[in-house]
């Protein structure tokens, strides 16, 4: 009997020439991942269990985001633009849901409708937007002009769930893993979908253990409690690298540490409405030292507000404003903010004091404190306010800040995603009116949203970003950051995706 199994395994291995076989045992083990905090506790996220903000490989959208932030087909076989703001998608017929039912257009509609009902969609969809043409064809027509819909359909939020199922308790989807168990604040587990329509996963089981604290996560890896951890704190990387049996893997930049500026802040937050002061702030920040010294080299200098690759060949159009403290002092002087000795600059009896808001969980304190120190060098006093999410939102939405530092992620292929969300006058985000970047910026974003051709959309977005960063200085990119993973050296086949949400797990296995 034993001989037989060995022989048949050998045969399978020898016959499998499709590139991903190798000498893989049938069950390649169970992987325990130390993930961050459990974000499915929030009602708005619970409906997207296993999809967003943590993708467990259960569900699949119609399109897929490549590591280069480009699109490739997934559940959709083909698509076309049919005029009148409408896209038509043709679905594959082979994929089956975990309950055995075949993939159908009704389920895609069910998924998008759920997003409309829960207000988690961000593509201007309304109740009449999604129309089923036949079992494997559907039309989507956003309520407002939005040709970037295609780029957005790669977002995991739109991961297709089987019609009529309850996604909050048991997401039934088409992915390489099927839902197994979710214990709030403890873990989410999935198991291999043996009937998967594509290349089947190598691992038999995947468990995401929620460990909110960066340091505890790293210690859990060192202690051998977990096999792989997310979001390794930069300060721990060196220590983990020295540890035998642990490998550190870094993704290409997928997010940006970004300084948002209140160009139209509520009084008294008006100092940054002066373009000279904004430019001076940009000149005052030594981003090379930030990347090299404070962020210990696990970051890149960047001029764009999102990962450059989403702009294709046009990313080079944005230059960024160089570090030049002398120039910063000169600009502040000419703006009327005069300094006495090394103290804070004053104008008309008022100190040049900026309020910097951030959420300590989202932005490393060392970054905000570094910015504070650098602005101090040119005579700008900075008051850091570390806020909780609610306090943060209320300050942002009332324009009561001068500077805001966040780390926006790019999770779809839309080059104008962040632009249209944060600085665009037609954005329905409540903080946008306090950060506007002007009419020229708006019309360029309009153009990007209205371009059918992706290249044109990228070009218009890049031009808008040049206005935003180089001309208006309404945003200052501080550093491009990568996803840092650490894992036991026995974990094989892990390829980091710059967008965490699009991380794929089916090629991963554990070597014994």
């Amino acid at each position: 009997m034993k001989v037989f199994i060995a022989v048949s395994l050998f045969t399978v291995a020898a016959c499998g020439n499709d590139g991903n076989s190798g000498a893989m045992p049938a069950a390649a083990g169970s992987l325990v991942i130390g993930a961050g905090a459990d974000e499915f506790g929030l009602k708005v996220n619970r409906e997207r269990l296993g999809r967003y903000p943590l993708n467990a490989g259960i569900c699949e959208p119609m399109l897929r985001l490549t590591p280069g932030f480009d699109l490739e087909p997934l559940l959709a076989r083909a698509w076309e633009y049919r005029d009148d703001n409408t896209y038509r998608f043709s679905l594959l017929t082979t994929p089956r849901f975990h309950d055995g039912r075949p993939l159908d257009a009704a389920s895609v509609k069910f998924t998008l409708d759920q997003g409309i009902r829960d207000r988690t969609q961000y593509s201007f969809l309304d109740d009449s937007s999604v129309r089923v043409v036949d079992d494997s064809t559907l039309d989507i027509r956003p309520a407002k002009p939005n040709l970037r819909l295609l780029d957005q359909m790669a977002h995991l939020s739109y991961g297709t769930i089987a019609s009529g199922t309850k996604a909050r308790d048991n997401p039934v989807c088409t992915g390489p893993f099927r839902f197994s168990e979710y214990v709030p604040r403890s873990h989410l587990s999935v198991e291999r979908n043996n009937a998967y329509w594509g290349d089947k996963a190598k691992l038999s089981r995947l468990t995401f253990r929620f460990i909110p604290d960066d340091n505890t996560r790293a210690l859990a890896l060192k202690a051998g409690n977990v096999d792989l951890i997310f979001d390794v704190n930069r300060s721990i990387v060196a220590n983990l690298k020295e540890t035998a049996g642990i490998t550190v893997v870094v993704s290409p930049p997928g997010a940006v540490v970004l300084m948002y500026i209140a160009t139209r802040g509520t009084a008294p937050h008006t100092a940054m409405s002066d373009p000279l002061v904004r430019r001076a702030v940009a000149h005052a920040l030594d981003r090379r030292s930030l990347v090299r010294d404070v962020m210990e080299g696990y970051a890149t200098e960047i001029a764009t507000v999102n990962p450059p690759s989403v702009l294709g060949d046009f990313a080079a159009m944005i230059k960024g404003i160089p570090y030049d403290p002398a120039r910063a002092r000169y600009l502040l002087d000419s703006a009327g903010w005069k300094s006495v000795g090394r103290g804070t600059r004053r104008r008309g009896g008022r100190n040049l004091t900026l309020t910097l808001i951030s959420q300590p969980g989202a932005v490393d304190r060392s970054i905000t404190q570094y910015v504070q120190a650098q602005l101090g060098e040119v005579g700008i006093e900075t008051r850091i306010e570390d806020l909780d999410p609610a306090g943060y939102a209320s300050r942002l939405n009332s324009g009561k800040f001068d500077i805001d530092i966040e780390v926006p992620n790019q999770n779809d292929a839309n080059p104008a995603f962040l632009l249209a969300l944060r600085w665009y006058s037609k954005s329905n985000v409540r903080s946008a009116p306090f950060m506007l970047a002007g009419q020229r910026f708006d019309s360029l974003v309009d153009r990007s949203l209205a371009s059918i051709d992706r290249g044109e959309a990228q070009k218009a977005a890049a031009e808008a970003m040049r206005v935003l960063v180089d001309e208006e200085v309404a945003a200052i990119p501080l550093a491009g950051i990568s996803r840092i993973y650490a894992m036991s050296s026995r974990v094989k086949g892990f390829v980091p995706h710059p967008s965490r949400l699009n991380q794929r797990w089916s090629g991963v296995w554990i070597d014994r």
């Binding site: 960066d214 300060s235 721990i236 404190q369 504070q372 120190a373 850091i384």
Partner: protein, 303 residues
Amino acid sequence: MRPVDAVARIGSVLRLRDPLAIAGGSLIVMLAIVAVAAPVLPLSDPNTIDAIHRLDTPSVAHPFGTDNLGRDVLSRLAWGARWSMGTVAVATVLIMSIGVAVGTIAGYFGGIVDDLLMRLVDVFLALPSLLLALAIGGLLGPGFTSVLMALVCVWWASYARMVRGLVVALRSHEYLVAARSLGGSDLHVLVRHVLPNVMPSVAVLATIEMGDLVLAVAALGFLGIGVQAPNAEWGSMVSDARPFLLSAPRLAFWPGLAITLTVMAFNVVGDGFRDRFDPRTPGRPFVPKSGSRTRVAQASSDA
């Protein structure tokens, strides 16, 4: 004056007999001096960032090394003492004032006023103190005032209860009855006769509870509800040092040790005071009861 004498002097001023309590008292006096004098001490600026010299190991310039932003750890510890001790001191004054006021009013006037105030005290004592402080601090948002509010809201009640008990006992004392019958106003009687009798016990309680306050301030700081960046506070220093637990454990060690030693100091002094002024309370046996020979021997070895 030899150091041994200095320590003994401090002990005698504080009327402490236990060598451990004397050591604790000296530590507290030292911390208080550091806290008050931090701005004029020959230390580097605690908030100056130096990205080149980050995570430096101890050197002449930085005896305790530098933190992840190149700030001088020793200087941050000293300023941390200022924040921690300052918060505890201000909170204690407020707590004592409120507690004594409420307790005195309740005990002296009695009746419905007493009933109402004491039920209020019961409510505040019906919650684990750290949890209530956390809830209040969390709801008010981070900052010095929130911490202060949280501490005062939580800790006033036990003072009020104790003071009330003392005042009730005093009320029937002959000399109080005499003072009143001689036509002294309530205020006069309270200030001249009641308060002086109550204050020693209040001071003892305050010392005993200060250790708990230091721990609470540190815990709130650790949870991000303390003073805000870039200012140093011991609890938040431990919290900030967590990512460096493996690479530079000293960053967490020093503030952790500072908190522990300070709480220890307050605990031993509190025990010493309790033993000195209020010998009936439990917990007293921490002070050795054996002959003076042992004490002298220990005093010299401790110093």
